[in-house]
């Protein structure tokens, strides 16, 4: 698929080891499912590779559409907080994602949590082109693989961002009063790798008149149900 083209070109140019002609390696040692996120192993019996890839992405969608992730990928210039309410005070992304002149994120968000104020040395907002608040999983799936809209990342860089970025890690380690993202970052990273290894296929656009954030249903859906149950519940 064309999304592998930049990777292939890079390989030709510099002999990149990580993005050889093979697609990303399947996950060899699946972690068990935990905290509302299923294991890569739970998808193994979906015979059709594309359906398996889509099902894996839908599982990732539980994380991607969770408020701990969406709140800092807002569609407008104002971040969200808690269950997805507009951030109070009315702060904005600013030119570099670190807030407005005179009111940087770091005015309140320190290097670690303090009482109810979350902290992280990297605290900032995703750039506007990486916003996915309110988008369907299908749209998010296309967007995060598009270097124009993912901060110039090839697939390997995208996978590393998801599995080891220090601010992404915050999603699973918020202050006590906030619900963490489902699962763990390591498990999320495995789902992402397996999704990439199975061709990084995207769910179809939801049909019907449903608007607003799409996310995987809270209910357990059997992996066999695989093909894109059009998820529509708004994140809490």
């Amino acid at each position: 698929m064309s999304r592998w083209l930049p990777c292939a070109l890079l390989m030709l140019a510099i002999g990149c080891d990580d993005c050889g002609e093979d697609e990303p390696e399947p996950v060899a040692d699946p972690l068990p499912g935990t905290a509302g996120l299923r294991s890569v192993a739970d998808f193994a019996d979906i015979a059709d590779e594309e359906a398996r890839s889509v099902a894996l992405f839908e599982e990732m969608g539980k994380v991607l559409t969770h408020p701990r992730c969406v709140n800092c990928h807002p569609i407008g210039e104002r971040p969200l907080q808690r269950a997805g309410e507009p951030h109070q005070p009315h702060v904005v992304r600013g030119e570099d994602g670190h807030g407005a002149p005179g009111l940087p994120c770091a005015s309140c968000h320190g290097e670690s949590h303090f009482r109810t104020v979350p902290g992280n040395p990297e605290w900032h907002l995703a750039p506007a082109e990486m916003a996915w608040e309110g988008k369907s999983l299908a749209a998010i799936c296309g967007q995060i693989q598009d270097p124009e809209r993912n901060g110039g990342k090839d697939m390997e860089a995208l996978l590393e961002h998801m599995e080891s970025d220090a601010l992404v890690a915050y999603g699973w380690d918020p202050p006590e009063h906030l619900e963490p993202a489902p699962g763990s970052q390591a498990l999320f990273g495995q789902l992402a790798r397996q999704w990439a290894a199975t061709g990084a296929h995207c769910p179809p656009e939801p049909t019907g008149d449903v608007e607003g954030p799409a996310e995987a249903s809270e209910d357990e859906v059997s992996p066999e149900a695989g093909e894109a149950s059009a998820p529509t519940e708004k994140a809490e």
């Binding site: 702060v91 407005a100 005179g102 309140c108 320190g110 303090f114």
Partner: protein
């Protein structure tokens, strides 16, 4: 435990748990009461100070996190932006009750340092975290513009 702080250019040794809010230490340990306690939860801006030149809400800054950094409060803020702000604030008689004003001034100085000629949008955004219960917002805006050399007198 003992923590060494640099406040307005002076070193202070304070006995405090590292997770004590900087605001408590400023006001209760060091008697620097120009920095105000409004909400205690990063919602009002009354406690704004500068840490290494960056505005910081002292009510949510654990004192341990500012050890070794340069803390500047309303008592010590200086430089051309601070001078221009002081002059404009006085001339336009910005404060009403005054409670929010040290925070407003610290934010205004920080804004002018990074945006010497702020637009109305810049002022809205940079000052969005400072609440004034007396609603002096119109005068604050005028004073910032005047301090930037752009206001009508």
């Amino acid at each position: 435990m003992s923590i060494t702080l640099t406040i307005n250019g002076e070193e202070h040794e304070v006995e405090a748990a590292p997770d004590t809010p900087l605001l408590w230490v400023l006001r209760d340990h060091l008697g620097l009461t120009g920095t105000k306690y409004g909400c205690g939860v990063a919602q009002c801006g009354a406690c704004t100070v500068h840490v290494d030149g960056v505005p910081r809400r002292a009510c949510v800054a654990p004192v341990g996190s500012v050890a070794g950094k340069a803390v500047v409060t309303i008592e010590g803020v200086s430089g051309p932006e601070a001078d221009a702000v002081r002059e404009a604030w006085t001339e336009l008689a910005v404060p009403q009750c005054g409670y929010c004003q040290s925070g407003q001034i610290m934010s205004a100085v920080a804004l002018l340092k990074s945006r010497p000629s702020p637009s109305d949008d810049d002022i809205d955004r940079g000052m969005a975290g400072n609440i004034c219960r007396c609603a002096t917002y119109v005068r604050i805006r005028r004073a910032i513009k005047q301090a930037a050399g752009e206001g009508e007198r």
